[in-house]
Amino acid sequence: MTPASISSPLSALLLAPFLLGVTRRTKAIAAGRTGPPLLQTYYDLAKLLRKSVVYSRTTTWVFRAGPVVGLAAVLCATALVPLGGVPAPCAFEGDLFLFAYLLGLLRFFTVVAALDTGSSFEGMGASREVTFAALAEPVLLLALAAIARTVGSLSLSTMYSGVDATEWSRASAAFALLGGALVVVFLAENGRVPVDDPTTHLELTMIHEVMVLDHGGPDLAFILYSGVVKLWLLGALLVGLIVPVRSGHVWLDGAAAIAGMIGVAVVTGIVESSMARWRLVRVPQFLVGAGVMSVLALVLTRG
């Protein structure tokens, strides 16, 4: 572990809420509004943390554990994900599976906490979340497996430091497919349009938002924060692939990756302002399509 490798989790922890601000600002500009300040997510987090919590009498410890375990899982995951060419502080063979399952743990506890409230709406959201996740997780794992096969390593840091310009020219078709698949995973896992609409509060269409309706105060802050960090982490996996700047210089690589992250946030904002949420039946097709792309990429790559 080198001092430079701290920069990858540190930037995830500090800059993740900013990314959401960029997306919101993009949407506001596209809609002709001024929009909230870029740092609004930090203000929201600070406000929520100062509030007190209200627990329903029907809930048990599971409901209280949900946000805490979710936050813990996502914080562990920050230690595994490299930022572009900057390696993560914690890297070992097979850490990509740990990463995928930490995100799975976050989801599991969000879902269980939602079910624990006994609210039918939250149950509906949980059901949808799990349905889509069952299709999105294989896509993520297949995409990571394809990169692992190209570079010949099962560690996220080694994998992503191997994705450079020469590798791109060698396997451009496979990497382009993987980029497409990871964009779909990024949008689906973070509940962005066209899979889920983060701003909707219409009961029948919500997926992620409906699961956290009963949480408040610091619990909601934890959920919000885990959400933005997860956005950052999946974004980092995408940017590490599509911005192949690997100069070996930590500051340059890091700056390129962070610029890429902001680019991804802007593109997310543009996607969200230019298209509507899809009907729920269309979403699995979208995810299966991404699955086909990553299978094809996996077949195309030769280690």
């Binding site: 299966v288 699955g291 792309m293 077949v299």
Partner: protein, 217 residues
């Protein structure tokens, strides 16, 4: 082998998957038209090192027929036959796409074991050709609308053509032209048949055609 071969083949496979998941006939026609354009490009890309007037003429003919004439003909039929614009699947779109994923894996498995007379232009050529053919067959049996079956037939033909371009270098021009002419006549006849079926029965549901009979016993 040209640089554009692999991207064209990947796009061909992806558009086939897209067709498995699309519910609208107009969209299906557009996808098949795009596949026609891809095949025209593939023909040129496959012969990039020895580009002759013969190859260019064939590519242009494919572009004109598969990329323009067939889509135009089929959209005309669709407009004339004022039917529901949905493909009416017997197998749901998601299951179709998952079957497509399996078919893709199967094609790669099969092509690795297939003894070929000559080296294909790309390692992707044979699997993608097999996959496209399978998608065509699958769509013929799993969609009820007659127009979709014509599209599926075209996809099937696209797969066979890809196999030809990928494996057999230098098919005689006369053979290629003969096949194209056959396909053209087939699509033409099917287009007219669909129009007549629709005028007689107010639908183009191929399933109900089994009720057609002289025997009234």
């Amino acid at each position: 082998m040209g640089a554009g071969v692999d991207p064209a083949l990947v796009l061909l496979a992806l558009t086939s998957v897209l067709l498995l998941g699309s519910s609208r006939l107009t969209r299906g026609i557009r996808i098949v038209a795009f596949q026609g354009i891809l095949l025209g490009g593939l023909t040129v890309a496959a012969h990039a090192h020895e580009l002759s007037a013969r190859v260019v003429a064939l590519a242009l003919l494919i572009l004109a027929l598969k990329g323009a004439a067939f889509p135009w003909l089929l959209s005309r039929v669709l407009q004339r036959a004022d039917v529901r614009r949905e493909v009416e699947p017997l197998v749901s779109y998601i299951i179709s796409m998952m079957a497509g994923t399996l078919a893709l894996a199967f094609s790669f498995w099969l092509s690795a074991r297939l003894p070929l007379p000559s080296l294909p232009i790309s390692t992707l050529a044979v699997p993608v050709a097999l996959f496209t053919t399978q998608v065509g067959l699958f769509l013929i049996v799993s969609r009820r609308t007659a127009l979709m079956q014509v599209l599926a037939y075209l996809v099937l033909e696209n797969g066979i053509y890809t196999f030809g371009v990928g494996v057999v270098q230098g098919t005689p021009m006369i053979v290629e032209l003969g096949i194209l002419l056959d396909v053209f006549v087939a699509v033409f006849v099917m287009g007219i048949a669909i129009f007549h079926i629709n005028r007689e029965f107010d639908h183009i549901d191929a399933n109900q055609l089994t009720l057609l009979t002289d025997w009234t016993g």
